[in-house]
């Protein structure tokens, strides 16, 4: 199965869903900043990989799947949970890329351009995550 883009997936979204994601993302960024001030960079760094948005995203995904099934007269509760499980499995693979991101920033940032380091680390996150996904598909 190849990767595709489905813009129609956004149709069912409500303003409150976007606001929730924005608020969670903003809040965890502020908490990471405040933690750095109070506890230093070692503790604050842990929060850069806190699954802040994950519970909200997984729940929304499960709800959307449930609503889709409801439209055709079925109870989509279990299907929604299965979709969230597959999404979480993908997130597990994405975490391998996130580890690579942290490793590259840690090693490269003190000696190279900040912009280039962040760009390279983001590219590494995407490549490692995608490779892990490709390998997972073949297993």
């Amino acid at each position: 199965m190849s990767v595709s883009i489905h813009l129609q997936s956004l149709r069912g979204n409500t303003i409150s869903e976007y606001v929730t994601r924005f608020a969670f993302g903003g809040a965890i960024s502020v908490i990471a900043g405040l933690s750095a001030k109070h506890y230093g960079p070692v503790v604050a760094g842990l929060l850069l990989a806190f699954p802040a948005i994950f519970p909200a995203s997984a729940t929304l995904l499960a709800d959307h799947e449930k609503q889709k099934m409801k439209k055709i007269g079925c109870d989509g509760t279990l299907r929604g949970r299965a979709a969230a499980a597959v999404d979480a499995d993908g997130t597990t693979l994405g975490c391998l890329g996130l580890i690579a991101f942290g490793l590259i920033v840690w090693k490269f940032l003190p000696h190279h351009s900040a912009a280039l380091t962040l760009l390279f680390a983001t590219a590494a996150w995407l490549i490692i995550s995608t490779l892990a996904w490709v390998i997972r598909r073949k297993l």
Binding site: L48, A88, D89, C95, P110, A114, W133, R136
Partner: protein, 116 residues
């Protein structure tokens, strides 16, 4: 205060952007990769570099590796539990957040405590 507002706005925009990308992508397992996008790091590291320098931000990135390992274990457990027992998604994802904290704290205790 300006720094915190900037962090909030930048964090909100970048996390939302990755979240929308994840929503339009198929298959779902591939979209799930974006659940572990470095969105919070991309929102906060440039500001940290600007205010505290590259060495300080690199120290944060080293700790982020421990946080990402904790995230990996958390996401794997969420996936296995949802597949095996099919409980509520909201309940599973929130009830397991202390697992992330426990693993991150354990790795901090073992590898990062006392490190500058």
């Amino acid at each position: 205060m300006t720094d915190l507002i900037l962090r909030f706005l930048l964090g909100g925009v970048i996390v939302s952007a990755f979240s929308v990308i994840a929503e339009v992508l198929r298959p779902k397992r591939f979209a799930g990769l974006f659940g572990a996008a470095p969105s919070v790091a991309l929102a906060t590291l440039p500001l940290t570099i600007h205010s505290n320098g590259a060495a300080y931000a690199a120290t944060e990135a080293r700790s982020m590796i421990a946080g990402a390992i904790a995230f990996l274990i958390y996401a794997w457990c969420v996936s296995r539990i949802l597949i095996r027992w099919k409980p509520s998604t909201l309940l599973t994802t929130t009830a397991l957040l202390p697992l992330w904290l426990a693993v991150a704290a354990g790795l901090y205790w073992l590898c990062l405590r006392g490190a500058a």
